[in-house]
């Protein structure tokens, strides 16, 4: 049986020699700024894409611990990014306070964008608390636990989400904690739908 060249430790995944694509570069550069101000976790579609899914995306979902992001927003503006869906810093913070997201893109561009929101739901908080450090050559990013993302993708339920779940399961099937996957699936009431992961 073949397995992906990946190393999994307790709270770490090591993936070396991955060619860094433009979406990765975008995420790495913005996260480097974000992590100076708050703790974060990347969730949803970008996880599947990072680990090889053959599709792009217009947005990368990031959950952050609730805090004042004024200085972060000022810094990204200084570095030629902008908040697509707010006119100024105050407006951005207002959206976040209302538990809505802000979308950050390169100045005068709309896609790709980093969609940032405060941790609100129990799932958001679990993802942030149990985040996994993914190390790839000289870079690192924090991702949601794979088991949680597989269950969450099944919960979301669109064709694209089911395909992402299947991809992640295929890639990590020999390495993930099956009990954890079962528990997250029960939490999200999708345990009876897990069969879509099996071939």
């Amino acid at each position: 049986m073949f397995v992906l060249d990946i190393e999994i430790k307790k709270n770490e995944i090591i993936l070396n020699e991955k060619e860094i694509n433009n979406l990765d570069k975008f995420v790495i550069s913005l996260i480097k700024i974000l992590e100076k101000y708050t703790s974060y976790v990347i969730v949803s579609g970008y996880l599947a894409i990072f680990f090889g899914r053959t599709r792009a995306t217009e947005d990368v979902d990031v959950i952050v611990k609730k805090c004042d992001l004024t200085k972060f927003i000022k810094e990204i503006e200084k570095r030629q990014y902008w908040v697509v869906n707010a006119t100024d810093v105050k407006g951005s913070m207002c959206l976040l306070e209302k538990n809505l997201s802000i979308r950050i893109a390169r100045k005068n561009k709309f896609v790709p964008n980093l969609e940032i929101k405060f941790a609100k739901t129990e799932i958001d908080k679990i993802a942030l608390k149990n985040r996994i450090k993914v190390i790839f050559d000289k870079n690192s990013l924090y991702f949601s636990p794979i088991e949680l993302q597989i269950a969450y993708k099944i919960f979301l339920g669109s064709d694209k989400d089911k395909e992402d779940a299947r991809h992640l399961y295929n890639i990590f099937s020999e390495k993930i904690d099956k009990k954890k996957l079962e528990n997250f699936s029960k939490m999200l009431k999708v345990d009876k739908k897990l069969s879509l992961l099996w071939r």
Binding site: F2, K18, D159, E163, R166, N170
Partner: protein, 58 residues
């Protein structure tokens, strides 16, 4: 213009089949990813992503 009758049942069958084939492709691609180096699969993936997300967008 004459309106052609569409066989909805046939169309739905085709959509179901297409969903199955997409899942099958994911299985085949993942098998491939496991057989080759990370550099190999990720460079193919990068070609696809970089064709949609250009340097000036990041």
């Amino acid at each position: 213009m004459a309106i052609e009758m569409i066989d909805i049942k046939e169309l739905r069958k085709q959509i179901r089949q297409n969903k199955k084939e997409r899942m099958k492709f994911i299985d085949i691609w993942c098998e491939y990813m496991k057989k080759v180096s990370n550099k190999e699969w990720s460079s193919q993936q990068a070609e696809l992503i970089n064709s949609q997300i250009k340097e000036d967008m990041i």
